[in-house]
Amino acid sequence: MKPDKMEESIITSERYIKKIDSVSSDILRNVRINRGFILWMGFLSVALAATLFAYTIQLKEGLIVTGLRDVTSWGIYIANFVFFVATSLVGMLISSVLGLSGAKWIKPIARIAEIIAVAFAAVAGLVIISDMGRPDRLPNVFLFGRVQSPILWDVTVVTTYFFVSLLLWFLPMIPDLAISRSRISDRPKFLIKAYEILSFNWIDHKKQYEILNQAVRVLLILIIPLAFAIHTVTSWLFAVTPRGGWDSSIFGPYFISGAFVSGTSAVIIAMYFFRVNYKLQKYLTEDHFEKIARVLVLVSIIYIYFNINEFLVPGYKLKSIDAVHLKELFSGHYAPLFWSVQLLGLVIPVILLLFRRMRKPFPLLIISGFVLMASWLKRFIIVVPPQAHPFLPVQNVPAEWLVYKPTLIESAVTTASLILVIMIITILSKLFPVLPIQEIAEEETRAEAEQLNSN
C-alpha cells in the first residue's frame, strides 16, 4: 500500500502508468474463464460429487460407517480439521508478521497466502460438520452452547478468522479491481460486473489510499491475535483433557509453530504452481523462493524445538499414562509413522534447505510436498494415538474397536474437503488477479526511480 510524500509523485508519474500497463497485462492474462478452467472445475465437481455421495451414505447410516468407535471417537476428520486450521494460519504469518516488520519481498506472495488462509479456514468449519453424526443438531451449538466449552470458542474464532482473512484478501485488491475492470472487456459480462461492484468506486485518489491503508493496517493487526486464538483454542480442544499425549501446557505454541510449517509449505507449493502455470517467473522470482525457503527453515526449527519439549519432558518423567503413549509412538504401533513424519517432514527438510541449491524453486517444491504431507500425518499422530489408552479400563468392547482404522467412506469425505479447498483456491486465483498489480507496479517504479537517482 501507499503513500508517503515521495510516493505521491510515483503514482502520478508517466513511468508508473506504463508499468501498470505491462504488469496488469502479465497478470490479467490468467484471469479468464477458458477451456482449461472449465475442464478443471468440471473434473473437480465430478470428484466432489463422488465423494459427497460417500457423505450421503454417512448421513443415512450414521458414523458407524466410519472407523470411529467408543474408544477412538476422533479420527481423520478431526486430524484434517486441525490441519486445515493450521494451514490457514499462514495468511497471518506472511501478511502481518513479515509484512508489518517491513519485509518488502512478501508483497507478491501476500495475496497467495491470503487465498490459502481463506480457502482452508472456510472448509475447516465444514470438516467439523462432517464429524457430526447428527449434523442437523449443529444449531444446538449456538442455541445451547456453553461459554465454558472450547468447542464454542473454536466455532467463534474460526468464523471470525475466516471473515477477517476474506477482508484481508479483498481490501488490498480493490485498487487492482479498479485497474482491471477497464482491461478485461473481453471477459464474461458477470465478471466485469463483479469487478465494477467490488472496486467500490475506486478512482485511485490519494484520499482513498489513505482510508484503505488505515483499514488494512487495522486488519493486519487484528488478524494476529485472531490467528493465535484460532490455533491455540484448537489445541485446547485437546489440552484441556487430562489424557496422556494431550495433557500438555505447551500445546498452544506447539500447534502454532507447527501451523507455520504446514502453511509455509502450502504457500510454497501454490507459489510454484502459479509461477509455472501462470507464467509469472518475472514476479515470483528465484529470490522469492530463496527467501521463503529461509522462512520455512526458521519455522521448522522453532517447531523442532517445541517437539523436543513436547516429548522430552514427559519422556523424562514417564508418568504411567505418558509412558504408554510415548512407547506407542517411539517403538510401538505408531513408530513407523511417527519417525517418518519427524524425519522426512521436519528434520531432513531443514538439513537439506541449508544448501543453497535446495532453495531453488523445484527442489523447494519437492521438499515442501514432503513437509505438507508430514504435517497432515502429524495431526493424525496428535489426534488418534492418545485415545487408544484412556485412564479408565476399556471394557465390554469388541476387540476390533480398539484400533482405529479409517474407512473408505471416511477417506472419501476427507477427500471432499480437500477438493473444496482446491476449488476455492482455483476460483479465487482464476477470476481475480493472483498477484497485487498496483503494489508490484509501484514497487518496480520506485526501484527504477531510485536507480535513476543514484546514477
Binding site: 461459554v147 485497474i179 482513498q208 484503505l212 487484528l222 485472531l226
Partner: protein, 308 residues
C-alpha cells in the same frame, strides 16, 4: 485301546495345561453348598451384585464381552465357568487368583451365593443341591444372635454373641468375629478380627475420622470369621459414629462445569469482550469500505477520474 485313551487324556490335560494353568480347588471346598435354595429373589440380588462387582471384567453373561486379560476371565454363561461345582465357584470368588480379585472382605457368603444363583440361571441343565445343615455346627440347633453397642465416649463398639435354644441363652465364646463398615463399593474391615471372651463379648475400636452421612451415621456389620462353624449370622446396625458429612452441591455456584447460566463471570467477560472487540474492528473496516465508496462517488462527480 485303553492305552490310546490314556494317551489322549494325558495329551488333553497337557494341552489344557499349556493354555491356562488349572485352578485347583481343595477337595473339602469343592463340595461346599449354598445354605439356601436359589430362587428369583436370590437371582435378582445376584444380578445386581454381579453388575457392580464382576461385570467390569467378566462382561455380560452370554455376550462373551469379557476383558482381554491373561488368563482370560471368561464368560460366566459358558462351559468354562459352568463346569465348576458350586463349591468351586464359591472358592474362586472368595480367594481370587492373579487378576481375579479376592472378594472375601467385599462380599458376604450369602451375597456370593446370590451371585452363584444368578450365574447358574444361564445353565439350563443345572440342578441345585442345598446344604442340609443351615445353622451353627458349634451350637447345634441354636439360633445365633449378634448384638452391637456403640460407646461414643471412647469410640468403641462392643459386640455380644449369644446362642438361643428354647428358653436358654448362652454366650458364644471363643468365636472369631469381625466388624465391617459399608461403603459405596464393598465393605471396609475396621480394627482387627477379635475373639469373643467368656461373656461372648468383643470390643472394636473405631477410628474417629470416619465419614458418616448428614447426621453422622454409618452402617456397620458384624460377622463370624468362621461361618462354617457359627453360621452366617450377621448384624447390620446404623451407628452414630462418623463425622457429619454434608455433601457439597457441586452445581450450586458458578463453575467451569456448570451450565451456561452459571458460567464463571470472568469467562463470560473475556469471551464477550474478545468477540465484541473483534466485531468492532470488523465493523470499523466495513465503515472504511463505505467511506472509500463515498469518496469515490463524490470525487468522480466533481472531476473526471484518471481511469477511463
Amino acid at each position: 485301546m485303553k492305552n490310546i485313551l490314556l494317551v489322549i487324556i494325558t495329551l488333553q490335560l497337557f494341552i489344557f495345561d499349556l493354555k491356562s494353568q488349572e485352578w485347583i480347588v481343595p477337595d473339602d471346598k469343592k463340595s461346599k453348598l449354598s445354605t439356601f435354595p436359589f430362587d428369583d429373589i436370590t437371582r435378582k440380588a445376584g444380578e445386581k451384585l454381579f453388575s457392580v462387582n464382576c461385570m467390569s471384567c467378566h462382561g455380560t453373561p452370554g455376550k462373551g464381552n469379557f476383558l482381554n486379560l491373561v488368563p482370560p476371565p471368561g464368560d460366566p454363561a459358558t462351559e468354562k465357568i459352568q463346569r465348576n461345582s458350586d463349591g468351586e465357584i464359591f472358592y474362586k470368588i472368595t480367594t481370587g487368583r492373579g487378576q481375579m480379585p479376592s472378594f472375601k472382605s467385599v462380599l458376604s457368603s450369602p451375597e456370593i451365593w446370590n451371585i452363584i444363583s444368578y450365574l447358574r440361571s444361564f445353565n439350563k441343565t443345572y440342578q441345585q443341591q442345598v446344604m442340609a445343615v443351615i445353622t451353627s455346627s458349634a451350637y447345634p440347633g441354636a439360633d445365633i444372635g449378634l448384638f452391637l453397642l456403640f460407646n461414643s465416649s471412647d469410640s468403641t463398639v462392643i459386640l455380644r454373641a449369644s446362642a438361643t435354644k428354647g428358653n436358654s441363652t448362652v454366650p458364644v465364646t471363643g468365636a472369631e468375629v469381625k466388624l465391617l463398615i459399608h461403603r459405596t463399593f464393598g465393605l471396609l474391615t475396621v480394627d482387627e478380627a477379635k475373639t469373643t471372651d467368656k461373656n461372648g463379648m468383643a470390643t472394636f475400636r473405631l477410628p474417629d475420622n470416619l465419614p458418616g452421612d448428614t447426621s453422622g451415621n454409618i452402617m456397620v456389620s458384624a460377622r463370624f470369621v468362621n461361618e462354617e462353624l457359627f453360621g452366617s449370622s450377621t448384624k447390620d446396625t446404623s451407628l452414630c459414629a462418623g463425622i457429619k458429612t454434608i455433601p457439597v452441591n457441586l452445581v450450586a455456584d458458578r463453575a467451569m462445569w456448570n451450565n451456561v447460566r452459571k458460567a464463571p463471570v470472568w469467562l463470560i467477560l473475556t469471551y464477550s469482550l474478545g468477540l465484541l472487540t473483534a466485531l468492532g474492528f470488523i465493523f470499523y473496516v466495513l465503515m472504511k469500505l463505505r467511506d472509500i465508496f463515498i469518496v469515490g462517488e463524490t470525487l468522480s462527480s466533481e472531476k473526471p477520474s484518471k481511469e477511463k
